[in-house]
């Protein structure tokens, strides 16, 4: 994303009325303005109509007790936020579940993605087939069918226990047990490492080979080359993938909903923030309260994203002034 904005900044607006005469230039600029806004009009309508204004509406709702009828709506100030942070018994549990999920499954997914991408980047045969096979779970990961499948894979007589049985371990239902249910959903997220893997692969290909050759001449071993050349060179890609996966991780919903049958069970162990928000809004019709939850989520995601970006100063290496 940084690429395009940087480029946009380099461009200067063409001075009006250069060349063929001031009049013609002026109309050309006006025509471009008119055309620009015409072409942009569907997006502008969408931006204001179903993004920006609803967002502000949701902020306003978060200070009310709105539950479906505007006539009975009252302004309650910060009450929703107070109830959220100090009263709602499920709230902090859902925060904990979601944070655990993001903090554990996102790094695990990225490590897998980078490891496989590194292996695939060694110029091996059948690269195309590997890429496809590893990528397909990313496409399917958010589907209900896979969540259904997951219930069977990790169930009491599921595939995982069948494998463990061979080694002599007698596993119980992983999904029915509060200690392991969240783990199965984390594995589902790691299973979709294909899309960051593809991005890593593209990044690895752009590391200049001269760097490796120079390092090899200087006597750097394979590990040193990976550590001092590969990783710094692709650190912007790591940052990019990290941010995408983090934002996505906070919003996981479908898998949790289907795996737990919409309850977040067993014993609230998979009650993700998004699922609690859904329940409060659409089963209990506490729209005001759920709006407050949504805004808290927005603030947290923005803060985490900003923190990850800021941390990049210490570990992201932006080549010698080229793009990104």
């Amino acid at each position: 994303m940084a690429v395009t904005t940087a480029r946009a900044h380099q461009r200067r607006r063409r001075p009006a009325g250069s060349g063929a005469g001031a009049d013609q230039g002026w109309t050309e600029t006006r025509r471009a303005t008119l055309a620009g806004y015409l072409f942009l009009s569907p997006w502008l309508l969408g931006f204001f109509g179903i993004t920006a204004l609803p967002m502000l509406g949701s902020l306003a709702l978060s200070f009310t007790n709105f539950s479906g009828s505007f006539s009975r709506m009252e302004w309650v100030g910060l009450d929703n936020y107070r109830i959220m942070f100090t009263v709602d018994p499920a709230y902090w549990g859902s925060v904990r579940v979601t944070l655990l999920y993001v903090l554990l499954s996102v790094p695990a997914m990225l490590v897998f993605a980078l490891t496989v991408a590194t292996l695939l980047n060694k110029g091996i045969r059948a690269l195309g087939i590997y890429r496809t096979v590893f990528y397909i779970p990313s496409l399917l990961g958010s589907s209900v069918a896979i969540a259904v499948l997951w219930r069977f894979v990790w169930g009491e007589s599921g595939l995982v226990n069948a494998v463990l049985g061979v080694v002599g371990i007698d596993g119980r239902s992983w999904i029915g047990n509060p200690d392991t249910a969240l783990f199965t959903i984390m594995v589902l997220n790691v299973w979709t490492f294909g899309s960051p893997m593809i991005i890593f692969l593209a990044g690895l290909r752009q590391v200049p080979t001269e760097l490796y050759e120079a390092a090899a001449l200087d006597g750097a071993g394979r590990r040193a080359r990976y550590w001092y050349i590969t990783l710094p060179s692709i650190s912007p890609v790591v940052l990019f993938n990290g941010i995408l996966a983090t934002i996505g991780g906070f919003q996981a919903f479908t898998q949790v909903y289907v795996v737990s049958g919409g309850t977040g069970g067993p014993a609230g162990s998979t009650l993700f923030y998004t699922l609690l928000l859904y329940q409060r809004a659409f089963t209990e019709l506490r729209f005001g309260y759920a709006s407050a939850m949504a805004w808290a989520l927005l603030v947290v995601i923005a803060a985490v994203t900003a923190a990850v970006f800021a941390s990049g100063r210490f570990w992201v290496h932006y080549g010698d002034g080229e793009e990104r």
Partner: protein
């Protein structure tokens, strides 16, 4: 790396051994990862009572009865209805995204007008916006318009370029198209509409195909929106139908459930395989999922 290794002859053998190890590792990983999918495929063709018992991929007595049973097993509605609904919604989502995102992208990429940079920054900002902030107000808005239990809430936003990822993808693509072409056309008296329709769009077919394919896949897999907006069974999409199947079947018809799950994935896999190259390039450049 290959070049470096090749220069040291003695390393050749260990190099080959290493290659073999990498392949063994990758094949095992691929096998473990794909096993659930393969098992689901095999299970869909097994008699229902074998599904939970059989862990291998071998189908001893292949049958199509699951597809017949599964098709009509959800209350009053058949999966035919769910598939048709999903297809209509996804097709409209594709159309909407391709039209609205390419229009917006053309403006961002090729037209100079006051405010462009601000709008562009806001557009990029919406990519990062968590959807849950919009969930409730959008629901209230569409509810007040009387759109609940219609396809409109699932389709209309697509015609307003709200999936900004695609705008971004197309902006990047349009910027790569040489300026000279459009300028020549303008000297010949072409308006922006014709430049867009006759020069830009035909040249941007790869990026538009990527947009179309991901629009289809996202819309096809979408669960949260249909869950909220579609209330009568006749309007359900495939994912909602499947979720209903899980709740309803309780214990018995696993074969049917697997058969319908498998069918629900086929369009996604089909779309991916058909557009594979484009999609993988699209992911590399923008991080689409």
């Amino acid at each position: 790396m290959t070049a470096v290794a090749a220069r040291h002859r003695p390393h050749q053998v260990s190099h080959r051994v290493q290659r073999t190890f990498i392949h063994v590792g990758l094949v095992s990983a691929a096998f473990v990862m794909s096993y659930p999918l393969l098992w689901m495929t095999a299970s869909a063709f097994r008699p229902s009572e074998q599904v939970l018992v059989e862990d291998s991929l071998w189908v001893s007595t292949p049958t199509l009865e699951n597809f017949v049973n599964g098709w009509t097993s959800v209350a009053q509605t058949s999966f035919g209805t769910f598939f048709l609904n999903s297809l209509v919604i996804s097709a409209l989502a594709v159309l909407g995204n391709v039209l609205s995102c390419s229009l917006a992208a053309y403006a961002f990429a090729r037209l100079r007008f006051p405010g462009r940079r601000v709008w562009f920054a806001l557009m990029i900002g919406t990519i990062m916006l968590p959807y849950h902030v919009l969930l409730i107000p959008q629901y209230l808005l569409f509810n007040s318009l009387g759109w609940v239990d219609t396809f409109l809430p699932l389709v209309v936003p697509r015609f307003l370029a709200t999936e900004a990822f695609f705008v971004f993808l197309l902006v990047q693509f349009f910027r790569l198209i040489p300026k000279g072409l459009a300028e020549a056309a303008r000297i010949d008296g072409c308006g922006h509409a014709r430049i867009f329709g006759q020069i830009m769009v035909p040249l941007a077919v790869p990026a538009l195909a990527t947009t179309a394919a991901f629009s289809f896949i996202w819309s096809w897999n979408d669960f949260l929106n249909p869950l909220i907006y579609l209330t009568s069974q006749g309007n359900y999409t495939v994912p909602i139908g499947l979720a209903l199947f899980v709740d309803a079947s309780g214990t018995s018809n696993y074969g049917g459930l697997f058969a319908m799950s498998l069918l629900s994935l086929l369009p996604v896999i089909g779309f991916f395989l058909a557009f594979q190259r484009l999609l993988l390039d699209g992911i590399s450049t923008t991080g689409l999922k």
